[in-house]
Assembly symmetry: C2
DNA sequence: AAACTGCCAACTGTCGACAGTTGACACGTT
DNA sequence: AACGTGTCAACTGTCGACAGTTGGCAGTTT
């Protein structure tokens, strides 16, 4: 059936396009041809346009009048500016988490950290999936929906900039240490320390991304 | 001429609609009828839909599938959650401003504060315009475009919630004192203090909005 | 050969019309 | 009278077509 089965065509197009942009199927710098992609998705240009505008509002696409939508590509100064925003948001989230966390939040946080350690000791690289899970668990503990939403958007943009998923062992080890320390601070209800550790953690991640950009 | 003279029809519609939503021409809780508003603006539903989706991405409208777009109305818990986000962003901006401000930034900040004082002493209420100008000047000094952009969006949502523009003299006086103190901290390059003062300031503003909501 | 001019194809911006869904009202039932 | 059911108008979701703009290419000039 043509009618919205469970989600509007525009909504489905958003999901598909976002996936394709984030995974690099549509590479940075390239352009999104409306008629071509519309045919490809089996929908008309109307819903696709809405999807494109939506992704543009998430900064996953850049709109140029009369030229179309482009996938933005990384730039060192952009990375730094983006991480300023991310730091502001996640440090606040860390503080809130320290003062609002419940026992179930702590269980979840410990769980994610433990899985990361197990994974690492088994010789596996620290998957980005688990990093995301950790930050998500922290956001849940912060109980600030608006901050959580913004962090989600920023993280997406960070993913977009991750040209290559880095698996630098020393960096991963330090990240896991940061996570553990963060959990301790949250567990102790030490908001100031949680914020400080988060800031250091993100600063490390940012630096890592910058070096991987210069290669 | 029908062609985009200087901005697309959708872009113009965004500006007009945003104005109407923020000034209460379209009151909170009401619905935006696509055909009606389209005729009213002299455009077709296509560009208007794009405009509506755009404003929805700014959270100035709420989309309900198959029902349309609604102007969200205030809720005490929403206000608190929104101010958590605003606090996170503006405290970070205050810190950055303290470490990055130039002399011209300081001149501009003093200027705005002085105009507020003059205005106040002349018996005029503290206009929201000047409050915005102050926060804007601070953001300029912070030099973090992404944070500035997010603050702009959050401030818009705050305006949307301002059912009645409050002119409570004690509150206004306290706000101006906060601003002055903030400028001092920024001038001294004291990031920690700038952040603290900003937090206190926003907490005061938030409280003021909450009390004005319960009336 | 370099620069300028005029044309052209490709694409976006916009429109009007059709199809499907939603909420409400009227009617009938218990 | 309260409740459930069927119908309907209003509106959103979607589509295909037209109009206007953009960047590039060919041809010409200096």
């Amino acid at each position: 059936m043509t009618p919205p089965l469970h989600l509007s065509l525009a909504g489905q197009a958003v999901d598909v396009l976002r996936e394709q942009v984030l995974t690099g199927v549509i590479p940075p710098g390239s352009r999104v041809n409306e008629v071509e992609v519309a045919q490809q998705l089996g929908i008309s240009r109307g819903p696709l346009r809405e999807a494109i505008r939506h992704l543009a509002s998430e900064r996953l696409l850049t709109l140029v009048p009369h030229r179309g939508a482009f996938v933005p590509d990384a730039d060192a100064s952009d990375v730094r500016a983006l991480f300023e925003l991310r730091t502001a948001l996640e440090c606040a989230a860390a503080e809130l988490a320290a003062s609002r966390r419940t026992d179930v939040d702590l269980v979840r946080l410990h769980e994610v950290c433990a899985e990361s350690r197990r994974n690492y000791k088994a010789g596996q690289p620290f998957p980005y999936r688990l990093d995301l899970a950790f930050h998500q668990a922290l956001l849940d503990a912060a109980r600030s929906p608006h901050i959580a939403e913004q962090v989600r958007l920023v993280q997406q943009r960070v993913v977009l900039l991750r040209s290559a998923l880095e698996d630098d062992p020393p960096h991963q080890h330090a990240s896991m240490d940061d996570h553990d320390e963060l959990v301790k601070a949250v567990e102790d209800g030490d908001a100031a320390r949680a914020s400080t550790v988060m800031r250091r953690h993100l600063s490390r991640v940012c630096a890592q991304m910058l070096t991987s950009l210069n290669r």
